[in-house]
C-alpha cells in the first residue's frame, strides 16, 4: 500500500510534466486520478491496519548501507488520508479555478509532485527518504507560489519561501548527519533504538534535536523562520490550501510527532520548541486580527494553529495523540477556508476585505461552508476544531503544565483563544455582512457561488469539518495512542475556553456594529501598524541577513576577480615582459616558455613551502 501511495501521485506527476501545454483535459484527469489513488489507498491502508514496510538498498558508503524505506504506520495512514482528501479537493477545484491559466498543465503536475513528496515524508522509515520528500516539497512550494505570471511579487515570494525554509534545512541536514554518524545507519528504527540504547552522548542528542527543529521551524513557519508564509499568499489560492492543510507546514509538525523520542531526549530542545511555538502562536493570532488581505488572515491563522501544536510538542508527557488530532482537524478546516476564500476572491475580484461585504446573499453555499470553517477554527462546538483544540489545551493543562515551558505555553494558548475568535468573527462579518463595498463594473462580477466542480470540494470539506470529531472518536481504537484519555475535551478547561471564545466573538461584533463599513481592527489603535507588519521580523531579517549577504557577495567577487586572479594575471604579465627581454629569437615562444616556467616555479615554491611545513 505504501508503494501505491507514493508511486501513484509520482506517476501522475511524471505524466503531467511530459504532457503538452494544450492537453488540459488529460492533465486534469491524470491529476485528479493521482489524488484519488492516494485517498483510496490511504483509507484502505488505515482500515486494513497492515503497517507494511518496503526497503530498497540504493548504495553503499563504506560501512553504511543506504536503504530507502517506507513504513505505513496508523499515524502515517491517517495523515495520508488527510493528504489524499485535500489533494483530491484541490485538484478538482483547480480545474475551474485555473480555467483561464495557460500554465495549468505544469501546475497540475507540480501539485502531484508536491503530494508525492509529502507522502514520502509521511511514510518515510529512514531519514534520507524523509529528507528527499522534505526538500522536494520545498521545491514544489517554490514552483507553485511563483506560478502566477501576472503577479510581479510572485517570483520573489517563491524564492523567499524556498530560501527561508532552506536556511532551516541546513540544520535539518546536519541534524540527520549527527544521528546517522552516531547510529551508523539512517533507518529511523535504528536511530530510535540507538537512543534507547544510549549510543548517543547527551550533547549529540541536544544538537541533533535543535538542528532538526531548525528544519521543522522553517517548514512549519515557526518563529523566527515564519516570514515566508504570509508572502507565500502570492501563490494561487488552491495552493495555499495545499500548503497549509496537507503538505509543507503539516510536514514539520508531523516530523515532531514521529521523531518525538529525539526531541524528548533533551530538555533544552523541548524548551526551545515550546518557546518558538508559544511566540508563533501569539505573533500569528495578533497579526491575523488586523491584516486586511483575506488570505493573509488565514495564513497568520495557520501560523498560530501550528504554533499550538509545536508549543505542546515542546512539553514532556503524552501530547502526541492530541497534536495529531488537531493537525488533522486543522488540515480539514484550513483547506475548507482557503478554498472558500478562493471562491470569495473570484467573486469580489480582490483579496482585500475592505472591498468585500454583504456577500452572503450572492453566494449562499460559500457562505455556509466558510461559516463552518470559521466556527471550527474558532473552536465552537460541535465543529471539528472544537474537539481537537479542547484536546490540545486539555493535554497542555493536565499534568504537563508545570515548569517554565508549561507556563509559557499555557499563557500563549489562553491569550490566543479570544484572539482566534476575534479574527474569525472579523473575517466572517467583513466578508459576508454589512454593505457591499465592491467597486467593480457589473459585467466583470462573478455571478454568486462558484461552478459545481468548485462547489463540491467545498461542501465535502464542510461536511468533513462537522464530522471530524465524531469520526475521530469512533475510530479511536484504530490509531496508536488515541484513547478516551488522550483525545477528549476536559470539562474544566472547556467551559473557560468556550466562554473566552464567545467573549472574543462578541467584542468583534461590538466593535463592528457602530459602523459596518469600517474595520473593527481600528480599536487596536496605535498597535495596528506593528501588528500588520508582523512585528517587523521581516524587516529585521532583511537588514541583518539579506542585505549584508549581498554586500558580502559583491565584496568577495571583487576580491576574487581582482585579488586572486590579479596575482595570476600580474605574474603572467611580468613573465611576458621578462620573456620579451629574453626573447632573442623573436618567435614569441620563449615568452610562453617563460610564463610556464615561472608559473611552474611559483607553484613549485608554494609546494615546497607546504613540504617544509609538513616535514
Amino acid at each position: 500500500m505504501s508503494a501505491a501511495l507514493v508511486a501513484g501521485p509520482a506517476l501522475a506527476a511524471l505524466i503531467g510534466f511530459l504532457l503538452p501545454y494544450r492537453a488540459r483535459r488529460m492533465a486534469a484527469i491524470v491529476g485528479c486520478a493521482g489524488g484519488m489513488v492516494v485517498f483510496v489507498a490511504a483509507v484502505i491502508a488505515f482500515f486494513a491496519q497492515s503497517a507494511d514496510r518496503i526497503s530498497q538498498t540504493v548504495a553503499t558508503f563504506g560501512s553504511l548501507t543506504l536503504r530507502l524505506q517506507l513504513h505505513l504506520t496508523t499515524t502515517a495512514s491517517i495523515v495520508a488520508i488527510l493528504v489524499g482528501a485535500v489533494a483530491l479537493a484541490v485538484q478538482v477545484y483547480s480545474v475551474k479555478y485555473l480555467a483561464n491559466d495557460s500554465r495549468y498543465v505544469p501546475y497540475v503536475a507540480q501539485v502531484s509532485l508536491f503530494v508525492t513528496a509529502m507522502l514520502a515524508v509521511v511514510c518515510a522509515d529512514d531519514l534520507i527518504t524523509l529528507l528527499i520528500g522534505w526538500e522536494v516539497m520545498g521545491l514544489c512550494s517554490y514552483l507553485l507560489i511563483g506560478h502566477d505570471t501576472s503577479l510581479p511579487e510572485a517570483p520573489r515570494a517563491a524564492v523567499k519561501a524556498f530560501l527561508v525554509t532552506r536556511v532551516g534545512d541546513i540544520g535539518f541536514l546536519l541534524g540527520i548527519i549527527v544521528l546517522g554518524v552516531g547510529a551508523g545507519s539512517f533507518a529511523i528504527p535504528d536511530v530510535l533504538k540507538a537512543i534507547t540504547d544510549g549510543t548517543y552522548t547527551s550533547t549529540e542528542l541536544t544538537a541533533a534535536g535543535l538542528l532538526l527543529f531548525a528544519g521543522v521551524a522553517g517548514k512549519s513557519a515557526q518563529f523566527p523562520l515564519h516570514t515566508w508564509l504570509p508572502d507565500a499568499m502570492a501563490g494561487p489560492t488552491p495552493i495555499s490550501a495545499l500548503i497549509h492543510a496537507a503538505t509543507m507546514v503539516a510536514a514539520g509538525v508531523y516530523v515532531l510527532i514521529t521523531l518525538r523520542p529525539i526531541f524528548v531526549a533533551s530538555s533544552t530542545t523541548l524548551l526551545v520548541i515550546a518557546a518558538a511555538g508559544a511566540i508563533t502562536v501569539l505573533i500569528g493570532a495578533l497579526a491575523a486580527c488586523v491584516v486586511d488581505d483575506i488570505k493573509r488572515v488565514l495564513a497568520y491563522s495557520t501560523m498560530s494553529h501550528l504554533g499550538y501544536l509545536v508549543a505542546i510538542l515542546g512539553l514532556p508527557g503524552i501530547v502526541r495523540p492530541a497534536a495529531l488530532f488537531h493537525l488533522l482537524s486543522h488540515g480539514v478546516f484550513k483547506a475548507l477556508l482557503f478554498l472558500s476564500a478562493g471562491a470569495v476572491i473570484h467573486a469580489a475580484g480582490t483579496n482585500s476585505m475592505a472591498a468585500m461585504g454583504g456577500l452572503r446573499r450572492a453566494m449562499p453555499v460559500t457562505f455556509i461552508c466558510m461559516t463552518a470553517g470559521l466556527a471550527s477554527a474558532a473552536g465552537l462546538p460541535p465543529f471539528g476544531g472544537f474537539w481537537s483544540k479542547e484536546s490540545v489545551i486539555g493535554a497542555a493543562m493536565h499534568g504537563f503544565g508545570d515548569g517554565t515551558a508549561g507556563v509559557v505555553v499555557a499563557v500563549s494558548l489562553w491569550v490566543s483563544v479570544p484572539l482566534t475568535a476575534w479574527y474569525c468573527t472579523r473575517l466572517f462579518l467583513r466578508v459576508f455582512f454589512g454593505p457591499s463595498q465592491t467597486h467593480r463594473p457589473a459585467k466583470q462580477q462573478h455571478q454568486g457561488d462558484p461552478a459545481m466542480s468548485m462547489r463540491v470540494p467545498l461542501i465535502a470539506l464542510a461536511a468533513a469539518t462537522c464530522l471530524v470529531g465524531v469520526l475521530a472518536f469512533t475510530s479511536r481504537s484504530l490509531v496508536e495512542g488515541w484513547s478516551a484519555d488522550t483525545i477528549r475535551p476536559h470539562a474544566d478547561t472547556t467551559v473557560l475556553v468556550v466562554l473566552l471564545t464567545i467573549l472574543g466573538c462578541l467584542t468583534t461584533w461590538w466593535a463592528w456594529r457602530s459602523d459596518r463599513t469600517l474595520d473593527p481592527a481600528r480599536i487596536f489603535g496605535i498597535l495596528r501598524p506593528p501588528l500588520q507588519a508582523g512585528f517587523y521580523v521581516d524587516a529585521i531579517q532583511d537588514a541583518v541577513i539579506v542585505r549584508p549577504a549581498h554586500r558580502l557577495s559583491r565584496l568577495v567577487r571583487r576580491a576574487d576577480e581582482q585579488g586572486v586572479d590579479g596575482v595570476v594575471e600580474g605574474a603572467g604579465n611580468s613573465s611576458w615582459r621578462l620573456g620579451g627581454v629574453l626573447d632573442l629569437a623573436h618567435t614569441g615562444l620563449a615568452r610562453y616558455a617563460a610564463i610556464v616556467v615561472s608559473g611552474g616555479l611559483c607553484l613549485g615554491l608554494v609546494t615546497l613551502a607546504m613540504w617544509e611545513l609538513a616535514t
Binding site: 548504495a59 558508503f61 567577487r557 576577480e561
Partner: protein
C-alpha cells in the same frame, strides 16, 4: 586478445580514428558519421561492465587490461585498464561527447564544423586515455594531450576574447603540469617503477618524507586542473569564452581529470602524504564552496555564473576526497559523475538561451517561462539538480561529503561539515536568483529579443538534454549505479591510506 581488451582498443582507437576520418569525409555526412561513432563509443563504454575480472586482490584491480612494452629505458609500459573507479567517468565522457556531436550536427551551426568535431574526438582520445592509464608516465602523456585540442576549441570557436582566455587556460594548466611531471618522476625514482598497480603495492615502502613531497607536487598539479581555490582563476575566463561544446567538455570531463588524478595517482600512490595534507585540502575545498557561492550571488553573466558554480561543486568533491574515508570518497566519486552530467546540461541550456537571445547578461534577461516554457523547464531542472536537491544526482556528492567529514568527529572536521552545509544553502540562493532573473520575473523593458517569437526547445535540443536529464534522475534515485562500481576500489584506497 580477450573481448575486454578488444573493447579497450576500440575505446582508444575509435576516437583517434574518428578524429582523422572526420577531416576527410564530405561535410554533409560529417555530422551523422560523428553521431554514429560517438554512439558506438557510448555502447562500448557501457559494455565494459560485461565479463569483468573481479577476482583480483591488489589495490588496483582492472576489470580488463592491456600491458605492452613501451619506453624500456624508463621501464614504462603501455599499461591500460578499466576498473570501478575509472569506469563511471569513461561512460560520462562518452555520453557527453555523444551529446556534443548531436549538438553540433543538429542544433548549433558553427563554421568549419569538421575541424571542431575532429578536435572533440581528439579530446575524447586524450580524456579516455587518462582514465585508462595504469602507468604514471602514460597518465602524464594523456593528461597533457588533452590540453592541445581544448586550446584549439577555445581559440578557434570561442567568443570575442577567446585568444586571451585560451592562452591563460593553456599556460596555467601547463604550469601545473610541470609539477605533475616532477611528482611522477620523483615517484619513479623513489619506487623504481611507473606501473600504478605495482606502485600502489609498494606505497608503504616509500619514505614518509618523500611521500609528503610527492603528494604536495601532485596535489597542487591536480588542484590547478580541478580547480581548487585559489588556483581556479583560469576557469571562469575559459568558460566564458569557450563555445558551448567546449564548456560542456571542459566542465564535464576535463575538471574530473584533476579529481580523478588526485585519487588515482595522489592518494593511492602517496597515501601518507594524502593523510598529512587532508585537513588542508578539506579547508580549501570548503573555502572554494563558500567563495564560489558568494561570487555567483553577485555574478551578472550567465555563463560566468555556471563556471564559478563548478568551482564550488568541485570544492565538495575535494572535501569528499580529503576525508579519506569510504563515505567521503564514495561521495566524491558520485559527485564527479553528477557534476559532469549536471553542469553539461547547464551549459547546453545556457548555449540554447544565448543562441536565441544573443546575450547572457542577467540584467537583460527575464520571462523565459513565458517565451520558451520547455527550455525554461529544462534550465530549471538543471539548476535544481545543480544545487543538490535530494532525489537528483547532485545530492549524494554534497550530503555524503559532509557526512564523511562529520565521521571524523573532531572540531576541525565538524567545522568543515557545517561550513559546507551553509555553503550548500548559499548555492540554492544563487541558483534561485539566477532562475528569478532569467526564468520567472517579468521581462524588463530593455530585454534583448524578449518577444514572444523565440522558439522553444527544438527536437535536436531535446535529443541532447533528454539523456542527461534521465541520467541525473536515475543517479538521483539510485546512486548505486555509480557507487556499486566504485565501492571496491574506494575500499582498497582507504585501506591503503590506513596502512
Amino acid at each position: 586478445m580477450t573481448a575486454g581488451q578488444t573493447l579497450l582498443v576500440f575505446l582508444l582507437g575509435g576516437p583517434a580514428t574518428c578524429a582523422l576520418l572526420i577531416l576527410v569525409v564530405p561535410a554533409r555526412v560529417a555530422g551523422r558519421l560523428s553521431i554514429a561513432a560517438a554512439s558506438a563509443m557510448f555502447v562500448v563504454s557501457i559494455a565494459l561492465t560485461a565479463d569483468r575480472n573481479t577476482a583480483g586482490s591488489g589495490t588496483i584491480d582492472p576489470w580488463h587490461e592491456i600491458n605492452l612494452p613501451w619506453i624500456a629505458s624508463l621501464e614504462s609500459r603501455l599499461h591500460l585498464g578499466v576498473d570501478g573507479l575509472s569506469w563511471p567517468l569513461i561512460v560520462l565522457t562518452s555520453l557527453l561527447v555523444l551529446c556534443c556531436t548531436i549538438w553540433l550536427a543538429s542544433v548549433e551551426r558553427v563554421h568549419n564544423v569538421r575541424a571542431l568535431l575532429a578536435l572533440i574526438f581528439a579530446l575524447q582520445f586524450g580524456m579516455v586515455g587518462v582514465f585508462l592509464a595504469l602507468d604514471t608516465i602514460v597518465f602524464f602523456v594523456f593528461f597533457e594531450l588533452t590540453l592541445v585540442p581544448m586550446y584549439g576549441v577555445i581559440a578557434g570557436w570561442g567568443g570575442a576574447k577567446r585568444a586571451a582566455a585560451a592562452r591563460k587556460f593553456v599556460l596555467y594548466t601547463l604550469a601545473g603540469s610541470v609539477l605533475l611531471l616532477t611528482g611522477v618522476m620523483w615517484l619513479l625514482v623513489e619506487a623504481g617503477t611507473s606501473d600504478m598497480p605495482l606502485l600502489a603495492e609498494r606505497a608503504g615502502d616509500v619514505a614518509r618524507s618523500a611521500q609528503l613531497g610527492i603528494f604536495a607536487f601532485l596535489a597542487v598539479a591536480f588542484a590547478v586542473k580541478s580547480p581548487l581555490w585559489p588556483l581556479h582563476s583560469w576557469l571562469p575566463d575559459a568558460h566564458t569564452e569557450a563555445p558551448t561544446v567546449g564548456s560542456v567538455l571542459l566542465a564535464g570531463v576535463l575538471l574530473k581529470l584533476g579529481t580523478y588524478g588526485l585519487v588515482r595517482v595522489g592518494v593511492t600512490l602517496a597515501p601518507q602524504g594524502a593523510k598529512h595534507f587532508a585537513p588542508v585540502l578539506a579547508a580549501l575545498g570548503v573555502v572554494a564552496i563558500v567563495v564560489a557561492a558568494f561570487v555567483c550571488l553577485a555574478s551578472d553573466e550567465l555563463k560566468r555564473l555556471i563556471a564559478y558554480s563548478s568551482v564550488g561543486h568541485m570544492g565538495f568533491v575535494l572535501l569528499g576526497i580529503a576525508t579519506l574515508n569510504e563515505a567521503g570518497m564514495q561521495a566524491a566519486q558520485v559527485g564527479n559523475v553528477s557534476h559532469g552530467l549536471i553542469t553539461g546540461l547547464l551549459f547546453f541550456c545556457v548555449g540554447a538561451v544565448k543562441s536565441r537571445l544573443g546575450s547572457g547578461q542577467l540584467a537583460s534577461l527575464g520571462g523565459l517561462r513565458m517565451s520558451a516554457p520547455r527550455l525554461a523547464a529544462v534550465l530549471g531542472f538543471a539548476a535544481i539538480a545543480s544545487f543538490g536537491l535530494p532525489g537528483l544526482a547532485g545530492f549524494w556528492g554534497e550530503a555524503f561529503a559532509i557526512y564523511g567529514a562529520a565521521q571524523h568527529g573532531t572540531v576541525w572536521w565538524w567545522a568543515a561539515a557545517i561550513v559546507a552545509a551553509i555553503g550548500a544553502a548559499l548555492v540554492v540562493a544563487y541558483f534561485l536568483r539566477m532562475l528569478r532573473l532569467v526564468v520567472t520575473r517579468q521581462p524588463t523593458a530593455g530585454a534583448v529579443g524578449m518577444a514572444d517569437v523565440i522558439t522553444d526547445l527544438r527536437w535536436g535540443e531535446v535529443l541532447v538534454v533528454a539523456p542527461l536529464m534521465t541520467a541525473i534522475l536515475l543517479i538521483g534515485l539510485w546512486p548505486g549505479v555509480v557507487l556499486d562500481a566504485t565501492a571496491g576500489p574506494v575500499k582498497q584506497i582507504v585501506e591503503g591510506v590506513a596502512r
